[in-house]
Amino acid sequence: MTSLPQPQIGAKKLGLVIDLDTCVGCHACAVNCKEWNTGGHSAPLPDYQPYGVEPDGLWFNRIHSYEAEGGSCGDRTVNFPRSCLHCEEPQCVTVCPTGASYKRAEDGIVLVNADICIGCKLCSWACPYGAREFDENQGVMKKCTLCVDRIYNETLPEAERQPACVLTCPSKARHFGDLNDPASEVSILVALREGQDLMPELGYRPTNKYLPPRKAKIPVSAQPAPTASTAGFGSALLNLVDRVLSR
């Protein structure tokens, strides 16, 4: 059923909290996500021409890098992992004509039932964050499952019942938990660090939160870029080599 579930009192709201201050942009979470999920709930995550000139493929997590300028965080690089935010008002679910896309009442996870998806792609158009990717081989839509096959998996040691991305992050920039519980570690982080919603103006009410970069402690001022010296023995030698080689 693609109508949204009635909010249940006291139901969990599972999600991720991602720290943009400490994320180093190493892509480890994306790689481990691919690794786990290509054998998990939505397996496989295909690659198209993986060894070709234009490798392409299906990933649930994409790591962008931006340059932020001005403002309290100073001029800095911000690494930004992008994946499904398990929204509370997910239009990706309500537009689905088949009932393949659904939001779970008990924990808020948004999933695709690949057995009934017709691959109309409308859900991917309805997601403002570009979080859904299409499996060109199976003809169905896939997306982050919040590692639903790990977090409740009793065959795993309790400490490992977390999404693969969270477990693997070397800078501990990713946190998983119940955002409906004000006492949970993730809720406290969000409160302390003023966790942000992405594109709140669109009204999807994402569950995942992003912790913005901390205030720059050292004032950053623009440094003149070092220039290569144009005179001297070194550059004369280089010019000579250049001329000899370009004959």
């Binding site: 059923m1 890098s65 537009v95 017709i118 158009w125 992405l198 594109m199 669109l202």
Partner: protein, 312 residues
């Protein structure tokens, strides 16, 4: 948004088909059509043929076409599902309309009434199609008040052209219908002009600082991409049309889709070679509306592309 020919065909062909059905129902209810026992049923078959061709084309767009029947289930929330249900339901009054026309005659009260019901169902289907686009929040060029009226008027316009051609071919003249088609072309022209003026002045839906939650930064720009080649998001939603190309294609659309058909229909209405000018109007309308629909996709931007540094 990347234009996919299956979806362009779906929206233009169903527009022709349901537009034709609507005009047949309306004109017949008004008693404004010449008498002909075959005419009505043949027009209805053509109308349903166009609509069915469009619906078939749309299933080519699906990853799993063999499961298409599942799309009828979620009409409570999904406009795509509603479109499917409305499209299938339209066959019922339309077939009844054809049967009554044949057996009871085109002037029977029941025939006229069922003609109006068919018209309504056809237009509701077009409205559902339009709502699929109009309801998509991340695409500002679609999620606005222009999309639904535009789709309805383009359907009415193309359907009138088609009816004018068929009537001219059948009876040798298409007077009122061609005049209506001419006026509909001009109305469609005005609406398209208003639409382009509107999207040219729209502000982007979001900014990179809001999209990343880094609100304290004055500005941000993309540095490293997550991947060096394409992915689904860029292939599907990263289509970028150069402004100068868009401007040229818009001019072609004005001429092909609206101005030329308006002139041809006016000539047909004045009984100047109504078949020849009717066919010319039909050809230019078809090509023009296909181009118009291509631009509707190509000019649409998706908020997800902002993550890749695109202007949205």
């Amino acid at each position: 948004m990347t234009p996919a020919s299956s979806v362009l065909l779906l929206t233009t062909l169903t527009g022709f088909g349901y537009g034709l059905l609507a005009w047949l129902g309306l004109f017949n209810a008004a008693g404004a059509l010449p008498r002909g026992q075959w005419f009505g049923p043949v027009v209805i078959v053509v109308a349903l043929g166009f609509a069915s061709a469009g619906l078939m084309a749309s299933t080519l767009h699906l990853g799993r076409p063999e499961r298409a029947w599942r799309a009828f289930s979620q009409w409570r929330s999904s406009w795509l599902s509603r479109e499917g249900v409305a499209a299938v339901l339209t066959y019922l009054p339309a077939c009844g309309f054809a049967a009554l026309w044949w057996f009871w005659g085109q002037d029977a009260a029941a025939t006229r009434a069922l003609g109006l019901v068919s018209a309504a169902f056809g237009l509701v289907t077009v409205g559902c199609t339009a709502m699929i686009y109009a309801s998509l929040i991340p695409i500002r060029q679609w999620h606005n008040r222009h999309t639904v009226p535009d789709y309805l008027v383009f359907a009415i316009f193309s359907g009138a052209v088609l009816l004018a051609v068929m009537q001219a071919a059948w009876f040798g003249h298409s007077g009122t219908v061609a005049l209506v088609a001419c006026l509909a072309a001009l109305l469609a022209l005005v609406l398209k002009f208003a639409y382009w003026r509107f999207i040219d002045r729209q502000a982007p839906l979001t900014t990179l600082t809001s999209a990343t939650g880094v609100r304290q930064a004055a500005k941000m720009h993309a540095l490293d991409q997550p991947h060096f080649s394409q992915n689904y998001i860029l292939r599907e939603m990263g289509f970028q049309l150069a402004r100068k190309h868009a401007a040229k294609l818009r001019k072609w659309t004005y001429v092909l889709a609206f101005i030329a058909p308006a002139i041809f229909c006016a000539l047909a209405a004045m009984d100047v070679a109504p078949v020849v000018f009717g066919v010319l109007a039909l050809v230019t309308t078809g090509a023009g509306l296909f181009l118009e629909r291509w631009l509707f996709f190509a000019e649409a931007t998706h908020t997800a592309a902002i993550y890749y540094g695109h202007t949205i």
